[in-house]
């Protein structure tokens, strides 16, 4: 049977991808950022996941304002990197897992989560930057990926509670898939940042770290945090953090923190990263 073994959360700052793609990851500004993922690369090489359910948000790349799905799932065999205005990132095409993706879609829709099913989609930095941070620059990604884009651009995004419950529904779906697969769930985006207006540059180190403590130890409490608290405390774009709750909901109530990293700044953003393994 398929099983979810662990969860990864990470920010998906576009400038991190640009630094890597342009050979600047060794510069003093970026070096500490990438160093935060040295352990992660070794860890994932040992874990050898077959599939990653990758929760991220599209940044006006695949979805224009014509159609804005709150939750979607990519069921295609492949997802090309998007041209976000400066040409596509020079990274491999992302290979999907259509059978498991369709199974998850069918299962969670019947658990009352109305996912939008997508068969053709380009994936932007929200998905490819976490891949680069965890796997570096391989010729081919060593894992299949099921993209789960969540709307956090057009307010309101889904509530933290809804995200947390969706994670649980994804867990039940994966548990009932009859291929023997090692599956990870990743939550991306955040942490505190604001990219717009005179308040741009907002960072809240204390709030971020307290939030992360509670995400690990008492996720039910974090799931109750209203959007307005994210907006005020973590910036208008910090509300992306609700996506980490999907990852957390897919794990056991008890988890082991095998890695945790926090760094300010990555361009405009507080970068956070955590790896959680299921216990019990």
């Amino acid at each position: 049977m398929a099983r979810i073994t662990s969860g990864v959360a990470t920010s998906h700052v576009p400038a991190v991808g640009a630094a890597l793609d342009n050979g600047r990851s060794g510069e003093p500004y970026w070096k500490p950022v990438f160093a935060g993922y040295d352990f992660s690369k070794q860890w994932i090489a040992r874990q050898k996941p077959d599939v990653v359910v990758l929760v991220y948000n599209d940044h006006a790349s695949a979805f224009s304002l014509d159609i804005v799905p709150t939750f979607a799932i990519g069921c295609a065999p492949a997802f090309p990197p998007a041209d976000e205005g400066w040409g596509p990132r020079p990274v491999p095409v992302v290979e999907g897992h259509p059978e498991l993706a369709s199974h998850i879609a069918q299962s969670v829709i019947q658990q009352d989560f109305d996912l939008t099913i997508v068969h053709k989609m380009d994936v932007d930095h929200g998905l490819t930057v976490p891949m680069s941070l965890m796997f570096g620059q391989p010729e081919r990604w060593p894992v299949r990926v099921i993209p789960v884009p969540v709307n956090v651009v057009l307010f309101p995004p889904p509530s933290g509670r809804r995200c947390y419950e969706l994670g649980k529904a994804i867990r039940r779906a994966v548990d009932s898939f009859d291929q023997d697969l090692n599956v990870q769930v990743w939550g991306t985006g955040g942490m505190s940042h604001q990219l717009q207006g005179p308040r741009a540059g907002l960072i809240n180190r204390e709030w971020d770290n307290h939030w992360l403590d509670r995400l690990i130890e008492s996720p039910e409490e974090v799931a109750r945090i209203p959007h307005i608290e994210y907006l005020r405390e973590a910036g208008s774009e910090g509300v992306e953090l609700v996506m980490w709750l999907i990852m957390r909901g897919a794990l056991n109530p008890k988890v082991r923190t095998v890695h945790r990293f926090y760094h300010v700044p990555a361009s405009n953003t507080a970068l956070g990263h955590v790896i959680l393994e299921n216990m019990g």
């Binding site: 576009p14 400038a15 640009a18 940044h59 006006a60 790349s61 224009s64 304002l65 014509d66 998007a82 041209d83 976000e84 205005g85 400066w86 040409g87 651009v153 057009l154 307010f155 309101p156 505190s192 604001q194 990219l195 717009q196 207006g197 005179p198 308040r199 741009a200 540059g201 907002l202 960072i203 809240n204 180190r205 204390e206 709030w207 959007h227 307005i228 907006l231 005020r232 405390e233 208008s236 774009e237 300010v264 700044p265 361009s267 405009n268 507080a270």
Partner: protein
């Protein structure tokens, strides 16, 4: 609109909600069109002519031509859509964010290196903000 908007008192912040999205639909879709290389080069050749192909308001077009990002956001633009415009100009998120804060890019980058803009005084309109670049690293 009768919906409560508890976020309307956050200083220096426009939340891109359904009302803003309606107002900015064509502005944002114009930005989206710049994801295609051929559209980028047509836009660069004659910005005004390209903009006139879109049913945007004159105010929106002027804000685009002036690269006034705060104005574009007030008129319904969203930063992720607008990113296609500044990417077309070869500008980064950090350059553009700095331009919206009234700081030079250098001063903005220095503020970020010192821990970013403090939330102290920046949660609600009427509070007194901590000075930009005040060090948050001390805990």
């Amino acid at each position: 609109m009768s919906l409560d908007k508890p976020y309307s008192d956050i200083p220096g912040t426009v939340i891109f909600d359904a009302d803003q999205a309606r107002k900015g639909y064509h502005l944002n879709q114009f930005c989206m069109s710049l994801m295609k290389a051929q559209n980028r080069s047509r836009f660069k050749r004659d910005e005004r002519a390209y903009l006139d192909e879109w049913p945007m308001s004159e105010d929106q077009k002027k804000a685009v031509l002036a690269r006034d990002y705060n104005r574009m956001i007030a008129l319904g633009g969203n930063i992720y859509f607008l990113s296609k415009l500044f990417s077309t100009d070869g500008r980064s998120f950090q350059y553009t964010a700095a331009s919206m804060t009234g700081l030079t890019q250098e001063a903005y980058a220095t503020m970020m290196l010192h821990g970013g803009r403090s939330p102290e005084g920046n949660r609600r309109v009427g509070e007194t903000p901590a000075p930009a670049g005040s060090d948050q690293k001390v805990k």
